[in-house]
Amino acid sequence: MKCRDVVELMTEYLEGTLSSTDRARFEEHIAGCDGCTAYLEQLRATRRVLGKLADEPIPEPVKSELLKAFKNWKSR
């Protein structure tokens, strides 16, 4: 496997959808390649940064309005 091809298999690797043969070849390549190891690690970091974007807090006025709507719904 060449680095150029390995980078295009990263998502399949992370998703666990590579065949066991391809997975073994992939892991063998990664074990001996600093560039591809760094790339895989960058993709994982990218996912962590993306996950952080979920943290936007709900503004208080929005929350209290929704809670009011929920109470109304409950007493319908």
Binding site: C3, Y39, L43, V49
Partner: protein
């Protein structure tokens, strides 16, 4: 395939448990806002979309039988509300915005080919980020860059990246929600994440 799993959170909602409702709107606010922003450009409009989503959830909660997960149901409602909102807005959107380039079907490499030699090995390998302080990788500025990168993605990739990596759905849930194949989902995820990585790499260099 009629599988109905009892979801304690759904039961609590139906029973009118305010604490459960508050927990859910708090947990999903960020992911729903990001997904709303995938369809409407304005932050205020996105907030309205999220609010309308919750109100629609309440109106239809009695009829929801839990055939999909609660989460998939909520996000599905948001997508309907957001798309309806965009149809209203599309009359005023610039023409070009409707034809953003979508390379989801392309097999073009996701890494600049100039970074590899003719033998296919790295000549300009990526730097390891493990030496960087986590505070740099996770800085406000890095997050802002990532937001920009997401907004620049073609819509089909943007949806997937948001649902998978921000909303934390698994691939089955996303395939069900968008009615697409697992392969399709993976290809779009691959291209979308790679584009976000490129933006981060540019910033962290």
């Amino acid at each position: 395939m009629a599988r109905t799993i009892i979801d304690p959170e759904l039961e609590a909602l139906k029973a009118g448990d305010e604490v459960a409702f508050e927990a859910i709107i708090t947990r999903y606010h960020g992911p729903l806002m990001r997904l709303a922003m995938a369809y409407v450009r304005d932050h205020g409009v996105a907030e309205d979309v999220v609010q309308e989503t919750w109100l629609t959830c309440l109106r239809t909660l009695d009829r929801f039988e839990g055939r999909s997960s609660l989460k998939t149901w909520i996000f599905g409602i948001l997508m309907n509300v957001a798309r309806a909102q965009r149809r209203k807005e599309s009359r005023v959107l610039p023409f070009a915005a409707l034809f953003r380039r979508d390379d989801s079907g392309s097999r073009r490499p996701t890494v600049d080919p100039h970074r590899f030699g003719s033998n296919g090995l790295w000549t300009t390998p990526p730097d390891s980020w493990s030496n960087l302080p986590e505070a740099t990788v996770m800085s406000r500025e890095a997050l802002d860059r990532v937001k920009v990168a997401i907004e620049a993605l073609p819509e089909k990739q943007r949806e997937i990246v948001i649902l998978r990596d921000i909303a934390g759905m698994d691939s089955d849930e996303v395939c069900e929600l968008l009615a697409i194949s697992a392969t399709n989902q993976r290809v779009r995820l691959h291209r979308g994440r790679a584009a976000v990585r490129r933006m981060l790499e540019e910033y962290l260099q």
